[in-house]
Symmetry: C2
Subunit: 154 residues, 2 copies
């Protein structure tokens, strides 16, 4: 009903993807808000808690965000005392990230927002359709990224 009221004509999978992304962000944010954590901050803690100390440079690749973005997120976590950031002894440019004692303590209290979102969004859904949806999105994303690369060359 609320979805059907007159919308802009220009409506595409991009727009559906946007809505799903923001809906899942909203759920994640509401779960994490009591702990005063943003979603990207949670991903960083997840990595450091489960995989151990990680180079900031590598996290950029894993999270697929820009260095500048991660720089800000890390600064926030360091300010909160949840993460420790130290220059690497081999390469002074790189920074090794490590979860602090306070960070680990908080991590233990945290619910898993991803599990919650998966259940809320897809519980009972047809796996075959999910697979198709996943593939359509992946292909489209890949094509768009290639399009961007081509544009850069020109």
């Amino acid at each position: 009903m609320a979805d059907r009221q007159k919308n802009l004509k220009h409506d595409s999978v991009g727009a559906w993807a946007k809505r799903l992304y923001f809906a899942s962000r909203a759920v994640m944010d509401s779960v994490l808000r009591p702990y005063d954590l943003g979603s990207t901050q949670w991903y960083v803690l997840y990595q450091l808690a489960n995989e151990g100390p990680t180079m900031q440079r590598d996290l950029v690749r894993m999270l697929q965000i820009e260095r500048a973005t991660l720089s800000g997120v890390v600064a926030t976590l360091v300010r909160k005392g949840l993460v420790d950031q130290a220059p690497d002894s081999d390469d002074q440019r790189q920074r090794m990230l490590r979860i602090t004692r306070a960070g680990r303590k908080l991590w233990k209290e945290l619910p898993d927002p991803i599990e919650l979102i998966l259940t809320a969004a897809f519980d009972g859904a047809d796996p075959a359709e999910l697979a198709i949806a996943r593939r359509v999105l992946q292909v489209a994303t890949q094509r768009l990224n290639q399009h961007i690369l081509k544009g850069d060359q020109a």
Copy 2:
């Protein structure tokens, strides 16, 4: 290839949706950058150029964003002289938005980024699979939004 390098384990449709959203935003931004326009600014201009003067209140519903967000976007467009914002004579709380002469002039020069994205992303794709993907995303979004509503009540 670049997609397959070790990622965080927590990977879900939410993450695919995010990647597609950001890929399409990246294309849209790169198209609009020469004109110094953001994607949401483009949507506002689109509405005003094609459908005529619109109440700011209605645009909130059409774009499905918060009043506060639109407020900022409109302020930017007004500052650039592309849009005119005037109180409605009937209801002094509401603001009528109208494209200016300069706005219309710019609009005529603008390429259609949505068309470009649709082609780049989905040209040649199977319509049946697209329909399934669309439905999966819509259902998931709806379920997440309901989940948020329930959480609010509790």
